[in-house]
Amino acid sequence: MTAARHGFRPVEAVLMAIAGSVAMAAAASPALAAHEAVRAADLLPAASVIGAYAALHALLSWRAADSDRVLVPLLALFAGLSLAIVRRLAPDFGAAELRWQLLAVVVVAAAALGPFEPILFQRYRYSWAIGGILLVAGTILFGRTAVGAPAGSPRLWLGFGALGFQPSEVMKFVLIVFLAGYIDDRRELLSERGPRIAGWRLPPLPYLAPMVVMLGLSLGLLVVQRDLGAALLMFVITLGMIYLATLRADVVVVALGAFALGATYLHRHAQIVATRVAIWLDPWASSQTAGYQLVQGLLAVASGGVLGTGLGLGQPTIIPAVHTDYVFAAIVEELGLAGGIAVLALYGVLAWRGMRIALDARRSFDAHLAAGLTLGFVFQEAIIVGGNLRLMPLTGITLPFLSYGGSSLLVCAASAGLLLRISRSRASDDGAFE
């Protein structure tokens, strides 16, 4: 903690300027495509969000000059892109998207600078976990479908009137916090050797049990809800965090084996899983019916070429649910492979900073929390982009920071804010990006 508490952050300022330029260009481009002129109203949303992040940058210089220098510009860039893309893909959601993005800046600031300590999460982890499970259970009992969704859609929403949120997003966050606390408590025990069976040492089962129960409960609830994407995401996050804590490959192998068994069972007995897999294996056979979304997504990617059609000049809106599930395909169509790979690189930067923050964290709990949050971003991105690109069956989850979706965005913002907070308490300055 040698860095000053106050101090201008030139690296962050430069990166902010770049992010702001990109955001403004992204805001102007669909306007140029649509009516060949840029009006103030086209730029105002991007300008206000970038302004909010610039204010956060100033706030960090004043209150936390030693925090990570890359995250805030990265968030600003994501926000600028998301605004431009969502406003272009679903103009009806433009106003709501702006509200969520502005609220997200507040959430980042609160999580990063608010008067609380993350250690509180650890202290009350079981309360958190039970609260999370109750949320999901409540969704099963009282849940409703997304506003405007056809009857029979998964009922993933909880709330009253126009106020609604997806508990599974909160559940994901709660799971990461719980796991970080639990792992930190039992780290030494977890990597101890358990009973030996047939020459293979089991992990100490009693210590794993609460974790397994927590995971099983949440997965079960989500599977009942048919929210397969969230279930898969929570499974791989848990697996990643356990591996990071124990560095035991055999645990991963066993867990993947259990996953394979469970997936096979679901494939046999759950219609929605069988359908998703069948579409994944051969989308062309049902290109006008069940496979329509996937085929149209691939056609969008194919139509982009290297440089894309230009923002606003493609036809990504042919894809159903493009603004939540198919943002990546829309990006490749309009910004090309170059734009798509650039976006992947942004997630690479996020993973790099997140892991760096985890490695440099002073407290073990902070390290596990930072790693878990980072894994959450990476795996969520991989699951939805992998689904878009037919690397794996499609499950409808959001692309972190870029898709339209209030619950998702606010949870991502809270996670990023926590990363920012954890980066303030790093063990040394070696990892700081100067």
Binding site: A33, G240, Y243, L244, S287, Q288, V295, Q296, L298, L299, A300, V301, A302, S303, G304, G305, V306, G310, L313, G314, Q315, I318, V332, G336, L337, G340, I341, L344, A345, Y347, G348, A351, W352, M355, A371, T374, L375, V378, A382, V385, G386, L389, R390, L391
Partner: protein, 495 residues
């Protein structure tokens, strides 16, 4: 874990590259790709023109910019094919019928996907300007096409007219046909029982009947089994038995008992050609029939079908002798038979039939149409002798039918092909003018009855019109011709 994250991202980047680069063209070409349809709606698609510049297909835009493809000569539908905004070019269900025609074959040129300067490509890509396609000039003669379609009338059948010199297709009629402009409104035309999308000229396989005696005669002459002036006693009550299969001649004048081979050909004497087939034997007969390309699909921009010479290659004696006069297991398309006529009318080589005369502004190699000689059928000398037999046949038998009074002198051969239970298929193949053939024709009337009654008069009208058009074009000089002949001389044909 950071390494795992980067590996995951790298895999995603590779997958994006796979779909967005490696598979991009294949996906973009999918007929169910709505982007292609939307993009196509803004293309100023080039026109299809006949050899004299008459419009065969042209895109018009109405007041609100909606394009429609207009076909001023519906009779040319088997050649032009169709391009619709519902189906694309040639992407109709049942496209195995090949009804996409020139619209599909030259789609890239018509759309302007090829042969455009870099500036135009950039203007389309970057500025979103409409893409301008190229006009495509076909070898088709709109006037001749109209004559042929009218001559065939409502009958099911086909007419093919090719240039003897280089295989340029001047007319290609298939009935019943379709209105390419109406496909968007029609409900599932592939299900129409009359099969209007089926191109009988290039893909319909029919027993060729006695027109196939031309091929057998060429083989027999080439193998020195007979000569045009060899005398046979096959008239009257003469009967031959071939493995228990009795064959006689039925069409000769009542008093004709002894005649030479040329007249046996003119009288379409089955017994004589059964003998020639038997004398040739299976292997030699097959060799000469194959030399004409009957069992191969001719290279052509429209989809073509291979004919066949035998079901299984066995060709026992009864099958061999019936094949020698065009019955039994022999099947050929009208295009095949037009090419047989062209080979006999020319130097004994079968030309590669072609349809593309010119794409102004695009170099020929960018289009890649094939031209030149497809294969050698017989020597020029044998071709000359068969040609003489066909001229004799016209003199002896086709006055007033194929040989019109005042029309050009022709050579030809009729065919009346037994076709299962129905009436026989009527055939005629021929060429004109007799002394220096310029055009060759094949006419088929499905279940039309006798070739001399149903097919020969059609061929007569078509040959007369073709020779007249040829003379007019020659008189007008080469400027009005898009110049396939000229270009052939300067090396258009591919090796």
């Amino acid at each position: 874990m950071a390494a795992l994250s980067f590996a995951l991202l790298a895999v995603q980047a590779l997958a994006a590259g796979y779909w967005g680069f490696v598979r991009a063209d294949a996906l973009a070409a999918r007929p169910d790709n709505p982007r292609r349809i939307a993009f196509d709606a803004h293309i100023h698609r080039g026109r299809l023109l006949d050899r004299n510049g008459a419009e065969l297909a042209v895109t018009r835009f109405d007041a609100d910019g909606t394009p429609s493809r207009v076909y001023p000569l519906p009779a040319a539908a088997p050649v032009t094919g169709y391009q619709t905004w519902r189906y694309g070019a040639g992407a109709l269900r049942g496209a195995t019928y090949g009804a996409g025609g020139a619209e599909a074959a030259y789609d890239a040129a018509l759309r302007g996907d090829l042969g455009r300067p870099l500036g135009a490509v950039l203007a389309t890509r970057v500025l979103g300007r409409p893409q301008i396609g190229h006009d495509v000039v076909l070898t088709l003669d709109a006037g001749l096409q109209t004559v042929a379609a009218e001559a065939l009338g409502d009958a099911e059948g086909a007419v093919v007219v090719v240039d003897v010199a280089d295989g340029a297709v001047r007319a290609l009629v298939s009935e019943p046909t379709f209105d390419p402009a109406a496909l968007d409104e029609q409900v599932d035309p592939p299900d129409d029982p009359s099969a209007p999308l089926f191109n009988r000229a290039t893909q319909g396989r029919y027993p060729p009947g006695s027109t196939f005696k031309t091929v057998t005669l060429a083989g027999a002459l080439a193998e020195n089994i007979t000569r045009l002036d060899s005398i046979v006693d096959d008239g009257g009550d003469a009967v031959g038995s071939f493995g228990g299969y009795a064959v006689r001649c039925t069409n000769q004048p009542a008093d004709a008992v002894r005649f030479d081979i040329a007249h046996a050909f003119a009288y379409s004497c089955n017994l004589t050609f059964a003998r020639l087939g038997a004398d040739l034997g299976r292997e030699r007969w097959l060799k000469h029939a194959r030399a004409f390309g009957i069992d191969a699909a001719p290279p052509f921009p429209l989809a073509t079908a291979a004919g066949q010479l035998s079901n299984d290659g066995a060709l026992a004696l009864p099958e061999l002798v019936s094949a020698a006069f065009g019955q039994g297991e022999v099947l050929a398309t009208p295009l095949h038979m037009a090419l047989v006529a062209a080979a006999i009318a020319g130097d004994g080589t079968v030309p590669t039939p072609y349809l593309l005369a010119d794409v102004p502004g695009v170099r020929w190699w960018a289009i890649g149409d094939e031209r030149g000689t497809w294969r050698r059928a017989v020597s020029a000398g044998v071709a000359g002798q068969v040609r003489q037999a066909m001229i004799t046949a016209a003199e002896v038998g086709y006055n007033g039918t194929a040989q019109l009074a005042g029309g050009p002198r022709i050579g030809g051969k009729t065919g009346t092909a037994e076709a299962g239970d129905g009436r026989p298929h009527a055939w005629f193949i021929g060429f004109a003018p007799a002394d220096a053939p310029r055009v060759a024709v094949a006419v088929l009337v499905v279940h039309g009855g006798e070739g001399i009654r149903a097919a020969a008069p059609i061929a007569g009208r078509v040959l007369a019109a073709a020779v007249e058009a040829d003379a007019a074009a020659t008189a007008a000089g080469s400027t009005t011709m898009p110049g396939p002949a000229r270009r052939a001389a300067t090396g258009w044909s591919r090796p």
